[in-house]
Symmetry: C2
Subunit: 397 residues, 2 copies
């Protein structure tokens, strides 16, 4: 599980057809670069052009070599007579990408960008405008809130944090109760991912304004948890424990998070009003946890991941997950929605692994919805699009 | 107003008695360094020792020169045979400090730290443990929530964001109404400052748990605002407009923010239940705005700043702010609390400026509370301590 991200980076390099450690800029870029929408206030670089190229620029007068490192490929920047290094990447896929600069061998965030937690670090991010960006844009519609909740886990003996989206009318209809979607990030990401990179709150604000989705609460927790007796890193201060084991996450979610959410928020707490979805590692966790606890969940979403990861081998439903998928008819009566999504440019092992899982569902007759995000890899635009298509199907049975 | 931060940096260098551009490490450090509590998950550097020295370390095999830049002083790091550069700062004051690394002339965030908005940029921060750190520690007490609110300002024609702290019992006592403190950041900081660097939520959680402060809502908004017709930078996407003018902030606060908060939250909306406080630029704004709107506010807090900034000249109460402070007796009947705070190590012009303001208050007989934070400069520990002492005096008349 720990190698989702490194696998992706290697595969991304393969997909771009470039195995060289440093990359020529190639044909001249179209000169319509504009500052990235994710830049720090007032910062002019990095920039993005209409081809999806990224132009990085940084003053480093005494440096010998400066590179832009994005999508597993490094691009050499060129120094001008003011000591400013500038250079362009090849065209990137639409959507959000993590990147960094390399200055004489030092891997550092770009001081021009804002910072995001992914690839197991806080670092730079850039947004290549997507043709369908309207669905996650900040619009003049009623907006919900994103709330930081701190809580102490007895199971892990540590402070944890979750972010909770409440829909726009939550503070107005003060007696209304709402269904809940538990929405999980991927390996190397954390509880900030879905509201920051994923824009889950804006996607739901827009869907609710258009009456395409019912108002719901979304809980975005931290997908890592280890029992205290197995953990060597207590965290007495802020809840900043690093990405670590996931062995106790199911127990923490079922025994601590769900009861806390149901006690704190005005939830509808029966299984017909509780969904879980996640991306990559979070998809794997979602399928494991919901299938182990069908008394608690009736809507299931797996974005770019399934519980047979990383295997692409044919699945025997009799033995897989102790036969939990073997009786399709019974599952179809119990599960309101089983939803899977994948980007068309995802690297191995995702297409094969998700494909094998789908074959298994078809073999046993489990009904499911499948979506492919065109032109996106194992990245946030795939998952924004997945949420945008998954959320309207929730809580309508 | 724009030079708060640069003034501070220059003065800090003077205070440490060092005018050289690069600093010898001096006497050997005590070897009890531990990772900073503000490090990224799993990162071993930067570290802090019992003397308050900061040890930075970064691999940069091809670099010619690497420096740690903290408190306006640069410290040369030394390279080992693995290409890793390491070095220590002089002892730093207790509390939170912004810093950066300089790699062959490139000013970049430290990839080991988490990032904070201050000094007009997202960059590295480090925490020197304070002897009194218990009051802002994350403890096993009931915790409130910090909520992100997005709203469109008609005055500025832009999206804005505020963070709102709701006290621990807000979701339980669903018919209770609460007093409100509007709490402002300083120049070069933003609406994230008070809950992240300032730990306002934890300070209030602890005070409320000990029954030292009454449960209250805290609104932490963005202290910058310019009327749309004067602004050249509309922000169609995320509310990421840079620090800019402050000319319209009073109008935005009075006409848009307060009505929005009173419409969204269960507030007590009369002047006896509304306070405003701020730090540095936010203190200046607080005094201006509350004195212009005493029909709306009855509690006033100025942390490390007053409305005569940057002047240290004697104030004539007849002419200063159109004579608003000239009738001390009338003000004492109207204002429930006028509170001022300052760190004992603050650089010019703060001691002189705040001192001249205090002299003016004493001349006209305006009652006020004054607090000095021992051993701290124009930094967050001064402001955490100020909030810790200010909040218990609120809403008790």
């Amino acid at each position: 599980m720990m190698n989702y991200r490194s696998l992706f980076l290697i595969s991304a390099a393969l997909l771009t057809g470039n195995l060289c450690p440093a990359q020529d800029i190639g044909p001249a870029s179209v000169e319509d670069f504009r500052p990235s929408t994710l830049n720090q206030p007032g910062k002019q670089y990095p920039q993005v052009n209409s081809e999806g190229r990224v132009r990085a620029s940084i003053p480093a007068p005494q440096a010998l070599k400066v590179q832009l490192d994005i999508g597993g490929v490094k691009y050499d920047l060129q120094k001008d007579d003011q000591g400013v290094w500038t250079g362009d990447s090849n065209p990137q896929d639409e959507g959000f990408h993590y990147y960094q600069l390399v200055i004489d061998g030092a891997q550092v965030p770009d001081p021009g960008s804002m910072y995001f937690y992914g690839a197991s670090r806080w670092g730079s991010g850039i947004e290549i405008p997507a043709k369908d960006q309207e669905f996650y844009a900040l619009k003049r519609v009623p907006h919900g809130q994103v709330r930081e909740n701190l809580y102490f886990s007895e199971i892990t003996q540590s402070w944890r944090r979750c972010f909770v989206y409440t829909p726009p009318d939550y503070e107005k209809n003060t007696s209304a109760r709402y269904p809940v979607l538990y929405l999980q990030h991927g390996m190397g990401e954390d509880e900030t991912g879905w509201s920051v990179q994923g824009r889950a709150n804006l996607i739901l604000d827009n869907l609710i304004a258009e009456k395409k989705a019912v108002p719901m609460i979304i809980v975005m927790d931290r997908g890592y948890a280890s029992r205290a007796d197995r953990s060597s890193t207590p965290n007495p201060g802020r809840p900043q424990g690093g990405p670590g084991g996931i062995s106790a996450f199911e127990e923490v979610l079922i025994k601590e998070i769900i009861p806390m959410i149901d006690a704190t928020y005005r939830t509808l707490s029966d299984r017909s009003h509780r969904a879980m979805a996640g991306l990559s590692m979070g998809a794997n966790q979602t399928i494991q946890i919901t299938m182990n606890n069908l008394n608690l969940f009736s809507y299931i979403g797996g974005f770019s991941g399934t519980s047979n990861y990383p295997s692409s081998a044919e699945i025997d439903p009799v033995t897989f997950m102790n036969g939990k998928f073997s009786d399709g008819k019974a599952l179809n009566e119990k599960i309101n929605l089983f939803w899977l999504g994948l980007g068309t440019k995802e690297p191995d092992p995702f297409p094969g692994s998700v494909g094998a899982f789908r074959n298994m569902l078809e073999k046993t007759g489990v009904k499911y919805v499948y979506y492919e995000s065109p032109g996106t890899a194992h990245e946030w635009l795939t998952w924004r699009r997945s949420l945008y298509r998954f959320a309207p199907l929730l809580f309508k049975k």
